[in-house]
Symmetry: D2
Subunit: 345 residues, 4 copies
């Protein structure tokens, strides 16, 4: 099989990472890429690391849609709904790395993003593409809302405990730390090298847009309305998100129950690596790969579960998961093109 | 006034940082330093950055005690009790950067450190030297238990809320992130450059030795027995600790009450910088200084206080605070030698 | 084709990188690995990034030789001669990432490494495996001396100018800067995170062991005895070597002649990317790949060629080149398994 | 004595570093600061590290000149001549951290900077402020051209060999590596964290504007017209410049002659630390200080001197040296306020 893939917004970080991954995918050919800022330029002029590997020229979005079987869009929110409609009409698969289709509740979308649902039917056709949690819903769909970065790692750390009813659903705290690529390619004072290097701080404390998306997932898994406290931080590294998740254990729940719930839940998931007792999830070990490493810790003095996940924000938290979704909807083995070995250093 | 200062364990990181600070202190003269590993070597051979500033030779501990008015000890735990006794006998001030005198409860000391109190009277004479919280107790004392790094930043972030009874004392979560110098000077696989660089992970999850020390402080401030969940992480930076502290607000407590409690509590504290609303404490801004920056955030969706503190683990979290304690017990202005300007980059 | 590959010294950095690359090579199966320090342990216990990808146990060297068609050895110098002899006797291919077979002159080997040639015939059977310069010699050989890291990047930067007689062969200066993985996996004070981070220095100035190896290559290319000044430096990054090479242009040589000589020389070389005028080779653009990027600069005020190359010290400077050599001697397309996309960030 | 100091361009990196240093200088009071971009804002809003230490508001340049005894200007080139004239007229000392007064030859200024000398007399009144080399000229002057960063470290590494006629003055190569603060505070794609981190490259190869300034100094010291090859590189660290300088030894010059020439030349220079044989200058050891560390190496195989200097580009390479110049012209001990201890980590 050769899938013709197109990337809209290829010069942003998520778009560029899609290029890296798709270049190594044996069933995919990148047929067109676009960029508003760099139309007419070669991708390898923007990213010299791709020289001789992807010297393709950036075109406009229409050309990408026309030529492709599957369209990946890595755009600022608000720009994907129209594009999704177009792909839908033309019978093409649309995998959206932006936020437009992620929240199912329009009011929440309006509250957090300030926009409206243009076409409610389209939103109903779309599916939230977190395969390890919602794989069955994804099959057969053509409009995929690819989850955000924080919204992948944190729910995966908590899901088995939630689904099995082992933790209290109120009072959950998610303390996440992300590498700088999460903030995008555009230079800013905050991410200017000398001001970020050797620094570390929280940002958007308790008001980051990924909050309702994490809550939506946890609510769906638990069958009740969940509200969390979510605090993201900026790490002076390029890639990776570590999410330290805190939840009170329900009365009587043991360490062993927790572990066996996780082992059972993830036993067939190639991309989830449940670490042995005593190990600590580390972003160092999953960089450049689609893995999500999870370590489990019980604070028996306070009866608290501390579940920690590590993902590459650009792979499992963006481009890799998008390709995983593509594999699902095109009927390929989910691992195809995604057995990316995380370097040892 | 010229205080004759000696440093035992001068070649470890905390000892070396004491040298840096004391060299710039106008009322202090370093008269002797010691090191078990490097006896007979010049300090500037170990740390070439000190060349021509401190070319003093490392002697043994006895010589340091003999020559000094104040002895700073930066030793592994278990080695300070005897030394403290000796200083006490000879009428010298003893400031211990190790853990031996920090915990007041011998059982806790035994549980977490595996040791015993050699001389209970000596422990009673000692005081826990966190000036912003316990200044009045420090004056007039000669044996100071200098707090650990995590145990300085986290309590300072929570103290005003605790003292004023604004938060629930159960369910407190402290998620801390420390620079690598906290792990000391000794090379290890974990802190070998290529394995730490571009990585990030938690360690000693819910079982770090600083846990009972933080609890001791919060218990003292609140008047009740407090148990916390404490998770430290290792940041790929040299210096700094950011502690993100989570506590449920008591019913009806407002954002304004929180802020005014903090403003009042710290209004005369030079080393505490309470940041304006909207700002985020950042280790970038306190490096190489004795400041503790604090930012306050309220998650009104879950009624949670998120108080974040940033300190330099080697200064306010070790050597700087030790000098602050020295200033107090010698009757100097507490800021003397400690108005260290944190570099802008 | 399925080549059975074994790695001796798999737990060092070069060995671990070989694992990463061979895992993605479609014609290779890793059949055995060994490690003196970790015999009996799983590789993924040493390098958790390989969990579920290479959970193979470390055996001893004999077992590796026995099971493999090709043996890669990543050992300290002095240990490969005997191993090479054994592989030769058993008719197996031997690719040595150590230094034992690199220098053709025994006196030089003795001077710089302090050892002797055990079996001169074996050394004659061996070939220096820098494919872009000596490809024809490599074909048909079974004992390959894989070049060192500095000794790959610097000669590639200069080769076209040397071969075409465009530069003076005396007075060549090579100023190289290497990432820390070049110093190996063993923790040391110098490479302890806080002492290396935010630092930069030269080391082994004008007496690094790679000096005679670079000279050997340049001498072979130029047909005359070449002596160079070589100064390596340690960069606070994990990977990559940038070599800034200075040589006086011969009288009358123009910028255009230089460029066209390089274009011609490297026109069929996939792994050499000659950058356009105005661009600067950057280790950022070749990390994790087998590329060698080269930028050319002429200082017309002093008539000096400044040729700069960037390679990943662990890939083109070690494991990647070893696999490239394997591809050659097994008759595979040289790029097989080596079209590794350098990430954009 | 209390010197009233003003800083024009206080929000750039050099200006901000001047604030840091002057705040710790016991004979100086900062009376006014200015910034075109941030007029009306507090400095501590731009640099939160200065909160409670310098909450002064940015004014305009006129106000600074009016209130100050000494005016430091850290401005883009072309803006200092007029300002210098004004200070001269008003009898105030003017220390220019920009390039306008550095080159004595107007043609060179025009060639490299594209500007003209507005008032030749003013240029004659000015002096090039590199104290270790030209101290006697500086005394009594009121217009100081503070050297650039590269142009401080490289000449200091070579001066004793030049002055004593120990090296050939043609063929000198200076390979420098600078921290990122040298590129200024303004965000750019090149210095966006993820694109610089883990990268390393040369820039402005053989055409950097500091070339004629280094040549001017070496020419003055040697009494002949010197042309050099200068290649700067960008290091992924905040601060520091390491310059590796290569020069052929004159016939018969010995290692001992070199060392004794350096020892003699710098024997009374507090800020120059000549390292012992075997040591390597490292930017790690001079950060945040006004020191220039120099290590000497002889390549006896090629008869080449390799002299390596390490300075903090923002201190000895900018703000620290400016204060050193101020101390000289105000008759203070040159070290006043500049015994800044470089941290051990």
């Amino acid at each position: 099989m050769e899938i013709k893939a197109g990337i809209i917004g290829a010069t942003g970080y998520a778009g560029a990472e899609l290029v890296r991954i798709l270049l190594m995918h044996k069933c995919v050919k990148i047929v067109a890429i676009s960029s508003v800022s760099f139309e007419g330029k070669k991708l390898s002029e923007i990213y010299p690391s791709y020289k001789s590997l992807c010297d393709m020229e950036c075109k406009n979005a229409d050309e990408v849609v026309e030529k492709s079987d599957v369209i990946f869009a890595a755009l600022p929110h608000g720009l994907s709904q129209e594009l999704g409609a177009k792909c839908d009409t033309e019978g093409k698969a649309f995998i959206d790395l932006g936020a437009d289709f992620r929240l199912k509740d329009e009011d929440e979308y309006t509250e957090w993003y300030g926009g409206k649902f243009i076409d409610e039917e389209l939103h109903k056709k779309s599916v939230y593409g977190l395969p390890e949690l919602f794989r069955d819903n994804i099959k057969g769909k053509r409009i995929i809302a690819n989850p955000g970065c924080y919204t992948t790692g944190a729910p995966l750390a908590l899901a088995p405990a939630v689904v099995n009813g082992l933790i209290e659903m109120n009072g959950i705290i998610i303390d996440s730390k992300s590498g700088v690529t999460g903030a995008g390619r555009k230079p800013s004072q905050a991410n200017h090298y000398p001001e970020l290097n050797e620094g570390f701080h929280a940002y958007k404390v308790a008001n980051h847009r990924h909050t309702p998306e994490i809550e939506q997932t946890l609510s769906k898994l638990s069958g009740q309305k969940v509200t969390i406290t979510f605090v993201p931080h900026l790490l002076p590294v390029n890639r990776g998100i570590l999410s330290t998740c805190y939840a009170r254990l329900k009365e009587g729940v043991t360490k062993e129950q927790i572990r066996s719930a996780y082992e059972e839940f993830y036993k067939d998931e190639f991309f989830i690596r449940l670490l042995p007792d005593g190990a600590n999830a580390d972003i160092h070990n999953i960089k450049y790969s689609n893995f999500c490493d999870i370590s489990l810790h019980i604070d028996s003095r306070t009866n608290t579960l501390v579940a920690i996940s590590a993902i590459d924000n650009m792979v499992k938290g963006a481009a890799g998961q998008a390709v995983q979704n593509m594999n699902i909807i095109f009927g390929l083995d989910e691992k195809t093109g995604l057995v990316l070995v995380p370097p040892a250093f």
